[in-house]
Amino acid sequence: MSGIEFILAGMLAAATPFLLAALGELVVERAGVLNLGLEGMMAFGAAIGFIVVYEGGGHFAAFVAAGFAGVGLALIFGGLAVGLRANQVAVGLAVGILGQGLSSLVGNSYESLTITGLPKLAFPGLSDLPVVGGLFVQDIIVWLSLIATALIWAMFRYSRLGLILRAIGENPAAARAIGYRVNALRLCAVMFGGAMAGFAGAYAATVYTPLWADGMIAGRGWIALALVVFGTWLTGRIFFGACLFGAVSLASLVAQTEGWAVPSQLLSSLPYIVAIVVLGIITSNKRLLKINGVASLGEPFGP
């Protein structure tokens, strides 16, 4: 299998943890809240998901439990950042540290254990194509994530809910004035983001690498946060960004098969280096941020 084929076949699965977490964060940020606890929510969801599968609960229950784990942390975050109007940066970091601690704590006795992932499902016909065929052989969660991407895109583009979410992020005082319950809606968005982070963690720990290792989320939550900025808060661009990072994170595997003499540590840090560079390129374009950015992002709202 050539390097290109390898990357095409593996890219979507590698992108899925980024994509799920970033889609959740997109909804949260569109509503005007910055959730820096994403990494911790993913880590906790990953541990809970792994434990459920290992103890024989199966993948469906694992994703549900991981979703609830994410929502639980999101409620703490939302209670403080939205309800008590605390500093969103500080609360996000605090909940992130808490989530990573909880992840290590509950996963403590499962270190290095393995489980079985999910089977790959081929898209009939398309999967036989040369070179790109691998793109169409994916597990069920990848297919569902693609559907989720389309749904969130359509929600922001066509639905009333998307419009309301954007309004409370853009101008909460005006949204309040026409009768929307800004903080209640923001809390719902935060819970959705927590659930998606939990799913993202569960995918990483029970499907993508079905093995438990403490700290396995390894910065994916932070990359997902950066992805929302790269995508300038637009669903389609976030999807392409997630694919890019999925491909970049496969670089070390490709280098091994192709026999490149590059230090593995350089390849492991490649996603972060790419993230820093792309972040600089996108954010230096202030017009782009001004058009698509969220006006009241990070500012608590109190009537």
């Binding site: 540290i97 290590s104 540590q265 820093i276």
Partner: protein
């Protein structure tokens, strides 16, 4: 229906009580967690919070951990007050350790009293250099320093691994990922005889004093404060925001780098993977818990250091996983952030439309 209403003026009593209330709430909620895990709560409580203070040798270990936490947190707090969120102290700490280690790694035979001070200076420069990227990205490219500093930390970990598995690996070290043991002159002199506490603790207290003078007594510190509280007013008054960003990140990196250097030239004595046990992240908690105030941070760094030592004790005596300490640290910050809300707000019962 209960609503938050802003107080006419901040409650001073609550500002002092908030950290104590938070500590009490964190202790209570974690003890419940430990009981749920089937641990003996009394034994955990004793090992975690009392034992570190019971013996001189235990307390000296607390002081040993206080040094790096105090240094890093003082540096971070200056930036946090200016709303510059450097959360990459972990990476700046690692770079400080790497830069400092360069001297004994390349000159293992060198002797003389200049070596350890030179290592500290190198470390501080290394930490500050690692903060140049996020500062430049923020000032010139408008990129969020939170994400950039964090990613620089993840890169720093990989750089450390590369050095320890490659060029800097001790050839006589049985293939362990660690550098040579440093020579005697590369070690910081011991401050308190009979303990591992070295002169770098004094440096940390000097840093606390400097931070207090700068933040509470100087015009530069005032500019920082205004820049954080009222950016528009700061711009109107002609206080340069990019200067505040550069200074915040460089000071934060400098202090974290110094702490990293003091760790390899102090209790560890070589460059190895476990040089930082999350000091850079714990220092964020220390800075907030100390109310971002130089004096408060001295108290909170002692508390956090005691938690580290207490966590080790509890692992031995009460079979508590190390991760439990991280959960405790995280929940302490969560409780504190909840508690300080009530310094500026009060709860009021209202009738009528919900918010």
């Amino acid at each position: 229906m209960i609503r938050l209403v802003r107080r006419d003026r901040a409650s001073r009593k609550l500002a002092v009580a908030a950290p104590l209330l938070a500590l009490a709430a964190a202790i209570l909620s974690n003890l419940i967690l430990f009981v749920a895990m089937g641990k003996d709560p009394a034994a955990v409580f004793y090992a975690l919070l009392l034992e570190p203070f019971m013996t001189w040798s235990g307390f000296s270990e607390v002081l040993l951990k206080t040094g790096p936490l105090l240094l890093i947190a003082q540096g971070l707090a200056i930036g946090f007050r200016a709303k510059v969120f450097n959360i990459g102290a972990e990476g700046q700490f690692i770079l400080g350790a790497i830069f400092a280690s360069a001297i004994p790694v390349y000159f293992p035979q060198a002797t003389g009293g200049w070596i350890w001070p030179a290592m500290l200076i190198m470390g501080a420069i290394g930490g500050a250099l690692w903060a140049v990227v996020p500062a430049f990205w923020r000032v010139r490219l408008n990129a969020n320093e939170i994400l950039v500093t964090l990613m620089m930390s993840l890169i720093a970990v990989q750089l450390l691994n590369y050095l320890l598995l490659g060029p800097w690996k001790d050839p006589m070290g049985f293939n362990f990922p660690q550098s040579v043991m440093f020579q005697y002159d590369a070690m910081i002199p011991i401050l308190l005889p009979g303990t591992r506490v070295n002169v770098s603790l004094l440096l940390a207290f000097v840093a606390a004093l400097l931070a207090w003078i700068y933040m509470q007594r100087s015009f530069g510190g005032y500019q920082f404060l205004v820049g954080g509280l009222a950016p528009n007013a700061a711009t109107y008054a002609g206080f340069s925001q990019s200067r505040a960003i550069w200074l915040s990140l460089l000071i934060g990196g400098f202090a974290a780098g110094l702490a990293g250097a003091a760790e390899v030239a102090g209790p560890i004595g070589q460059l190895q993977r476990s040089i930082s046990t999350g000091y850079g992240y714990a220092a964020i908690i220390v800075a907030y818990l100390g109310g971002l105030h130089p004096v408060g941070i001295v108290a909170s760094s002692l508390l956090m250091a005691a938690l580290y030592i207490g966590g080790d004790n509890a692992m031995v005596s009460a079979d508590l996983p190390v991760a439990a300490v991280r959960v405790f640290q995280g929940s302490l910050l969560v409780c504190y952030l909840a508690a300080i809300t009530f310094v500026r707000f009060r709860l009021v019962r209202t009738k009528g439309a919900p918010a």
